[in-house]
C-alpha cells in the first residue's frame, strides 16, 4: 500500500515541479517524511536518489533543446564535493528536530522565491 502512495507522490511531485520549475527534493522530502513517516534524515537521503533519476531524464531532454552548458555543469558538480561532505556530516550530527526546522525554513524560502517569480514575470498562459 505504501509503495503505491510513494509512486503517486513521485508522479504528483514531478508534475507540479515540471509545471512551476521547482526541483524534486522540496517535494520528495516532505512526501517521505510527513506522509510515509520516514525519519527526516532518511527522507532527505532517499530523496537524493530520486533526484538523480529525475535530473538525468531532465538533462537528456534539455540537451536536445541546447540548454545545457556541459563544461559549467561539470565544474559545478565536481566542485560540490567539499560542500556535499560538509552537509552530509552535519546532517548526521545534528538532531532530527534541527533538520526539520532547517528544512521548514528552506521550504518557506522557496515559497517566497516562487511568489516573487510569479508576481514579476509575464505569464504565458495568462
Amino acid at each position: 500500500m505504501d509503495i503505491l502512495l510513494v509512486i503517486l507522490f513521485g508522479v504528483a511531485g514531478g508534475f507540479v515541479g515540471g509545471m512551476v520549475g521547482v526541483g524534486g527534493g522540496i517535494l520528495f522530502v516532505p512526501a517521505l517524511a510527513i506522509v510515509l513517516d520516514e525519519p527526516q534524515i532518511e527522507a532527505e537521503a532517499t530523496s537524493l536518489l530520486a533526484i538523480v533519476i529525475v535530473a538525468i531524464a531532465g538533462t537528456i531532454r534539455q540537451r536536445r533543446y541546447g540548454n545545457v552548458r556541459m563544461g559549467d555543469a561539470f565544474a559545478i558538480g565536481l566542485t560540490s564535493v567539499a560542500g556535499v561532505a560538509l552537509g552530509v556530516i552535519v546532517s548526521n550530527e545534528v538532531s532530527q528536530r534541527t533538520l526539520e526546522v532547517g528544512f521548514a525554513i528552506l521550504a518557506l524560502a522557496i515559497a517566497a522565491q516562487l511568489v516573487h517569480r510569479a508576481s514579476t514575470r509575464p505569464d504565458p498562459a495568462g
Binding site: 509512486i7 537524493l48 536518489l49 552548458r69 558538480g77 560542500g83 552535519v90 526539520e100 528544512f103 528552506l106
Partner: protein, 135 residues
C-alpha cells in the same frame, strides 16, 4: 584593508578571467553541495539564480545546466548519505522513476495552465509543509 586589496588587484591582475570564472563556479558548487547534503535537495534553488546573476545565463540555459550539475551533486550526496545507511533504495526508485512521467506531463502543460495560480498554490503547499514540520 579592503582598499589595499583592491589596489593590489589593480596593479597586478595575476588571476586570469578563466580562473576567476572557475572559482565562481566552485562557489556555486560548494553552496549547492552543502544544501544537497544537508537538506536532501538538488540545489537548483541556489544554482539557477547564481547562474543568471553571476554568469548572465538565460532562464532556460540556467535550468538546463543546473539539472546536469544536479545529477553529479545529488549522486555525490546520495553516496555520502548511503555510507551512513540512510538511503531507502526501494522508495527512492519508486518515487524517482514515476516522477519522470510527471515532469514530462507538467512541462508539457506548462504553457497551457495559469502558471501564476499554480505557483501561488504550490507556495501555499510549501508553507503548509513548513508549518507541519515546525509544530
Amino acid at each position: 584593508m579592503g582598499s589595499e586589496f583592491k589596489r593590489r588587484k589593480l596593479v597586478s591582475p595575476r588571476v586570469s578571467d578563466e580562473t576567476q570564472r572557475l572559482l565562481k563556479l566552485a562557489v556555486v558548487g560548494t553552496a549547492a553541495g552543502a544544501f544537497s547534503g544537508l537538506f536532501g535537495v538538488g540545489g537548483g534553488t541556489i544554482i539557477v539564480p547564481l547562474l543568471i546573476l553571476w554568469f548572465s545565463y538565460g532562464e532556460r540555459e540556467a535550468t538546463g545546466t543546473s539539472l546536469a550539475a544536479i545529477v553529479i551533486v545529488a549522486a555525490l550526496a546520495a553516496a555520502g548519505q548511503g555510507t551512513y545507511g540512510n538511503v531507502d533504495v526501494v522508495n527512492g526508485l519508486a518515487i524517482g522513476i514515476p516522477a519522470i512521467g510527471g515532469v514530462i506531463a507538467g512541462t508539457a502543460l506548462q504553457q497551457r495552465v495559469p502558471q501564476k495560480a499554480v505557483s501561488y498554490l504550490f507556495a501555499l503547499l510549501l508553507v503548509a509543509v513548513a508549518v507541519e514540520l515546525l509544530i
